[in-house]
Amino acid sequence: MPQFTYREAIRHALAEELTRDKNVVVMGEEVAQFNGAYKVTEGLLAKFGPNRIVDTPISEAGFIGMGIGASMLGVRPVMELMFWSFYSVAFDQILNNAANVRYMSGGQINCPIVIRGPANGGTNVGATHSHTPENVLANHPGVKVVVPATAADAKGLLKSAIRDNDPVFFLENTLLYGEKGEVPEGEHIVPLGLADVKREGTDLTIVTYGRCVLHSLAAASILEKEHDISVEVVDLRTIRPLDIDTVLKSVAKTHRVLIVEEQKPFASVGSQLAYMIQREAFDELDGPIHRLATIDAPAIYSPPVETEQLPNPQRVLKAALAAVA
C-alpha cells in the first residue's frame, strides 16, 4: 500500500471530491495562492482554478456564514479554518445557523457544509490557538464531528464528510500533518460513526481519538513489553455519530477502561463516554472508569511544560497502570 502523509491524504480527498462533484468548493484564509497555512491545499488552485479554490479575507463569521448560506442552495463548501480555535468568532454562524437551520425549518433546509482545520495543542502557541472544541461542537444536535488520527482515516472520513448532507466539522491536527501512513489505493471511504480497533488486547481498553491514538499505541507497546499488560486501543474516529457499540464490545472483553483525550476534563467527550459506559456496561466493569485528559488550565506556552499538560505516552502509561491496578 502506498504511504502518504496525513496532509497529503486530506489533499487527495479534497481533490477527488472536487473532481467528482462540481458543487464542491474549497474556501478559507490562504487556501489558494498561499497553498494553505499548513499546505493542506497545496496545488489545488493550479488544478481547479480560482472559482473552486477561494481565498477569503480574515472574516470567519462572514465567510463561514456565507458558506452556510450557499450550502442551503446546494453548493457544497469545504471551509478551512486556519485553526479551529478561531471558531469562537464564528460561533453564532456555526452553532446557531448551521446546526439549527434544518430543525427550525421543520426539515425543509439542508446544510451540507464541511468545516475543517486543525484543533490541537502541543505547538507552543498558547491558549488562544490550542482549543479542542469537539465536545462543544458535539454538544449541538444537528452536527457531526470527526477527529481522524491517521492518514487513511483522514482521507476516507473527509470524503464521507463532503458527501454528507448534514454539517460536518472535521478536526485535524497540525502535529499529525507530517505523519505518514498507508492509504489504500483507489476510492477509499470510511463511513462516519465507525470506530476502529487500532490494537487488540485483553487487559485494558483505551478509548481515544485524534493524536492521543498515537500516544496510546506507544504506551500500549511499552505496557506489553515491560509490564505484560495487553491493551486494546479503540479509536473513535468520529465523535458524533458515536460508535459506542465498538467501545462496549471491547469493554466486555477487557473489563477495564481508560479514556484518553486531548480535552479539558470538565464536560469533555470522555465525560460523555464514561457516562455511557457505566450506564450500558456496568456489569462488565471490574473497576472504575479512568480518564486521562489535558491538565485543567488554559494551554501553557512553555514548550517542555506544554508536553506535560497534554496526554503523552508517559502520562498514558501511568494512567493505564492505575487503571489496571
Binding site: 468548493v25 472559482n51 477569503t56 479575507p57 472574516s59 463569521a61 462572514g62 465567510f63 463561514i64 456564514g65 456565507m66 458558506g67 452556510i68 448560506g69 450557499a70 450550502s71 442551503m72 442552495l73 446546494g74 453548493v75 453564532d92 454562524q93 446557531n96 445557523n97 437551520v101 434544518r102 430543525y103 427550525m104 425549518s105 421543520g106 426539515g107 425543509q108 433546509i109 439542508n110 444536535p141 444537528g142 457531526k144 464521507s160 458527501r163 454528507d164 448532507n165 448534514d166 463511513p191 462516519l192 460513526g193 465507525l194 470506530a195 468520529t238 458524533r240 455519530p241 458515536l242 460508535d243 459506542i244 457499540d245 460523555q272 455511557m276
Partner: protein, 389 residues
C-alpha cells in the same frame, strides 16, 4: 433632544454610487441621482417609475391586498397571543408592510430573501399560506416549520425564503451565501438580506458587506430602519448614516421612505437590477416605523411618545397611503376596499381556526428534522449513535 421619529422620512429616494474613477481611490464620490421630478403637485412621482407604471390594475390590487392580509394576520395573531395561544416572542411588523411587500413583489425565479425575526410580513409577501404561518405561532404540527421554529423562524425554501433568524445580524452572512450560490450556479438573480437598524452594528454584517463587495456578489442589503432597536433609538445606537457605511466597502447605497410602496419598488428595482445584471451589491436603507412595541412583551412606554406613533399612523400608514394612491388612480373604490379587508379578516380567522384545530407535535417529533440522515434512514451512510440520553 431627539427629533420625533415621524419626521424622518424621505420625500425623494436617494441613490449613491461608488466612484468608478480608477485614478483616485481616496474619496468615494457620491452622486445623487434624483428621481424624475413630480409632475403635478401632490402626484406621487414614483407611480411613474417604469416598474410601477407597468403594473396592471389587478397587480396593484394584489399589492394592496397583501399588505392588508399581513396587517390582519398580525392583528389576529396578537389576539391569539393575548389569549395565551402563542408562546415566546411575537414581533409584529405592523406599520412596515410596504417594505416587505414592495421588495418581495420584485422577485424573480432566482431571487432570494432572508430576514430577521420580524418575519411574518416577508413570509406572506413571498406567498406563504397564512394557515401554516399561524399554526407555527400556535406551535402546531401543521405549522410551516412543524412547530419547531416559532414566530422568529419561518422558512419556505420553495419560495426562496430562507428565514426567519433570531440572532440580530446573524442572517446577513447567510444572505451573502445565497448570493454566492446564485452566482456560482450561474443564475441571474439576487439575494435580498433584510436587517433592522440595530443589526447594522453587528460585526458579522460588516464582514458580509466586505465579502459581497470584494467578490461582486448579487446581494442587496436592506436596512429596515424603523427607528428603534428594542427601546434604543437610532440616535442612541449608531454613529453616522446607516446605509452610508456602504461607502467604506465601495458599494452603492440608497435611501427611501418605506411607507410608500411605489417608492420602495422604484428604489429597490434599480438596485436589484444592478445586482442581477452586473453582480453589484448595495445597501438600501428603507425608513419605516413600527406601531407596536418591539415585541408584544414591550409595554412601549419608555422610549417614545404615543403622539409620535399617532403622527406616523395618521400621515404615513403604508396601507392608507397606497389605498389613497389607488383610489386616486381609480383602481380601488370603497366597495373593493371593504371587500379586501373583510376577506383578509376572514382569512386570518380561518388561519386561527385551522391552528386551533390542528394537533401539536408529539414528543416523538422532537428528534425528527435534526439530521438529514436520520430522516432518510434508507439512505443513511454513517453508523453509530446520533442521539444521546
Amino acid at each position: 433632544m431627539i427629533s420625533p421619529r415621524a419626521d424622518k422620512h424621505f420625500t425623494v429616494s436617494k441613490i449613491h454610487r461608488p466612484s468608478v474613477s480608477k485614478k483616485t481611490t481616496a474619496t468615494a464620490e457620491k452622486k445623487a441621482v434624483s428621481p424624475a421630478p413630480s409632475k403635478a403637485k401632490g402626484a406621487n412621482p414614483h407611480a411613474q417609475a417604469p416598474i410601477n407604471a407597468k403594473l396592471t390594475r389587478d397587480a396593484k390590487i394584489e399589492l394592496h391586498r397583501k399588505m392588508v392580509r399581513i396587517r390582519r394576520f398580525e392583528e389576529r395573531s396578537l389576539r391569539a397571543y393575548q389569549a395565551k395561544k402563542i408562546g415566546g416572542f411575537l414581533h409584529l411588523y405592523i406599520g412596515q408592510e410596504a417594505v416587505a411587500v414592495g421588495c418581495c413583489s420584485l422577485m424573480g425565479k432566482h431571487d432570494h430573501v432572508i430576514t430577521a425575526y420580524r418575519d411574518h410580513g416577508h413570509a406572506i409577501a413571498v406567498g406563504m399560506d397564512t394557515k401554516p404561518l399561524m399554526a407555527e405561532l400556535y406551535g402546531k404540527a401543521t405549522g410551516c416549520s412543524k412547530g419547531k421554529g416559532g414566530s422568529m423562524h419561518y422558512f419556505d425554501p420553495t419560495r426562496n425564503f430562507w428565514g426567519g433568524h433570531g440572532i440580530v445580524g446573524g442572517q446577513i452572512p447567510l444572505g451573502v451565501g445565497l448570493a454566492y450560490g446564485v452566482k456560482y450556479q450561474g443564475h441571474k438573480g439576487a439575494a435580498m438580506a433584510f436587517m433592522g437598524d440595530g443589526a447594522v452594528n453587528q460585526g458579522a454584517v460588516h464582514e458580509a458587506y466586505n465579502l459581497a463587495a470584494l467578490w461582486s456578489l448579487p446581494c442587496v442589503f436592506v436596512i429596515e430602519n424603523n427607528g428603534y432597536s428594542m427601546g434604543t433609538s437610532q440616535a442612541r445606537s449608531s454613529a453616522g448614516e446607516l446605509a452610508k457605511r456602504a461607502e467604506g466597502y465601495h458599494m452603492a447605497w440608497g435611501q427611501c421612505s418605506g411607507h410608500d410602496l411605489y417608492e420602495v419598488r422604484a428604489t429597490m428595482d434599480k438596485f436589484l437590477t444592478e445586482a442581477r445584471e452586473k453582480h453589484k451589491p448595495a445597501v438600501v436603507e428603507i425608513v419605516t416605523y413600527r406601531y407596536r412595541g418591539h415585541s408584544v412583551a414591550d409595554p412601549d412606554n419608555t422610549y417614545r411618545s404615543k403622539q409620535e406613533i399617532e403622527e406616523y399612523r395618521k400621515t404615513k400608514d403604508p396601507i392608507q397611503v397606497f389605498q389613497n394612491q389607488l383610489l386616486s388612480e381609480g383602481v380601488l373604490d370603497e366597495a373593493l376596499i371593504e371587500k379586501i379587508d373583510t376577506e383578509a379578516r376572514a382569512e386570518a380567522d380561518t388561519a386561527a381556526d385551522f391552528s386551533e384545530a390542528s394537533p401539536f407535535p408529539t414528543p416523538d417529533d422532537i428528534q425528527k428534522d435534526v439530521y438529514w440522515e436520520t430522516d432518510n434512514p434508507s439512505e443513511r451512510k454513517s453508523q453509530g449513535r446520533l442521539f444521546f440520553d
